[in-house]
Subunit: 208 residues, 2 copies
């Protein structure tokens, strides 16, 4: 099947299904119904069945999904059957927290490069990574063949760093800077901005 028939919003939900299945496997479960899965994820059974149907049938009617089989299938669909190396730009509080985050290596993500411009930072280690000057960004990304970049820089310079990442071969950017990037269509952007999510929440909390 061609990938572009699956809506982005469905792809965005698959990692959550996988995360929940992994937790269930740890709990010793072997099969799970779409209803139970839906309750755990705060969604509906119909949604889960429809999302998974894009990738063929995983469960027999009435018998639930075989958890281990579904975990393997989701890992393959999401290309998690390998280690993904990542380059982080910005070694402030956030960049450092990411470089030290144990949830990454545990799930196949290796922070391989960490860049900054602060002279006192260059050459020092954060977790297993040595901070390099951002002047070496292109050279290092190309040398390691890294496809994923993380922007942990101020909004003012985010677009400029993103442009340099893209020229160096980055194809996916996780953007923590509070600004929308303008990127070629071939580059995938995911944004994380806690302020936007808190503001969404405030809409619902305002009238209490």
């Amino acid at each position: 099947m061609t990938k572009d028939v699956v809506p982005d919003i469905v792809i965005g939900r698959l990692p959550r299904y996988l995360q929940c299945m992994n937790l269930m496997a740890k709990e010793g479960l072997h099969t799970v119904s779409s209803g139970v899965l839906a309750a755990r994820l705060g969604t509906t059974a119909a949604q889960i069945r429809k999302d998974l149907s894009y990738f063929g049938g995983f469960g027999k009617q009435g018998s639930g999904y075989p958890i281990y089989h579904l975990i393997e299938a989701l890992q393959e669909i999401l290309n998690l059957d390998r280690i993904w190396q990542v380059a982080v730009v910005g070694a402030g509080d956030l960049g450092r927290a990411l470089a030290r985050y144990k949830g990454f290596p545990r799930r196949g993500i290796e922070i391989k490069l960490l860049f900054d411009i602060e002279p006192n930072f260059i050459g020092t280690k954060v977790g297993a990574v040595t901070i390099q000057h951002v002047d070496y960004l292109e050279e290092e990304i190309q040398y390691h063949g890294i496809k994923i970049g993380v922007l942990a820089v101020p909004a003012e310079i985010a677009q400029k760093i993103a442009d340099r990442m893209v020229k160096a071969g980055i194809r996916g950017i996780l953007n923590y800077a509070p600004v929308s990037l303008i990127l070629p269509e071939t580059v995938h952007e995911e944004r994380i901005d806690p302020v936007l999510q808190l503001q969404t929440m405030m809409y619902y909390l305002g009238d209490d």
Copy 2:
């Protein structure tokens, strides 16, 4: 108009519109067309017009949106016309980065409380906040009448802390723990998990 007629997905996009408009105002712009706004946000003009139409007409046909008027309206819709106090549980790398993040006070968010269980942390300051023992969570949240909590704790204890937050009066939880929470319907959850967003990206990058 009643709030529940506006789909959640539309509400989730409003903070991005506001962020973009604020940037445009800084750049000295006074009006903007839905087309230009769409290009900056990587969406379509039709989507923006449809989203904003839930809240009445903001632009006259052909003359674009008046930026300052739209900023004010969006701030009012999202209840940003006040300071929102927030309680953070977990004073590890992430909790500390949040407590020090300058983007919060700048946008009306005050990290008022910070909790942990680590004896060496208790009583020390991070930015303007003093870390308190999590035993005081209920008392402090109630005393300050705080409605928003941030979970920056390991997955294993996230649900337990969330339950305590809800009992203390928290109505919105920004959840950084890599686990889905089970919450009453009256409590709004937003999740931030960089691994899930990186995994979504890997789907698109896998076949390069």
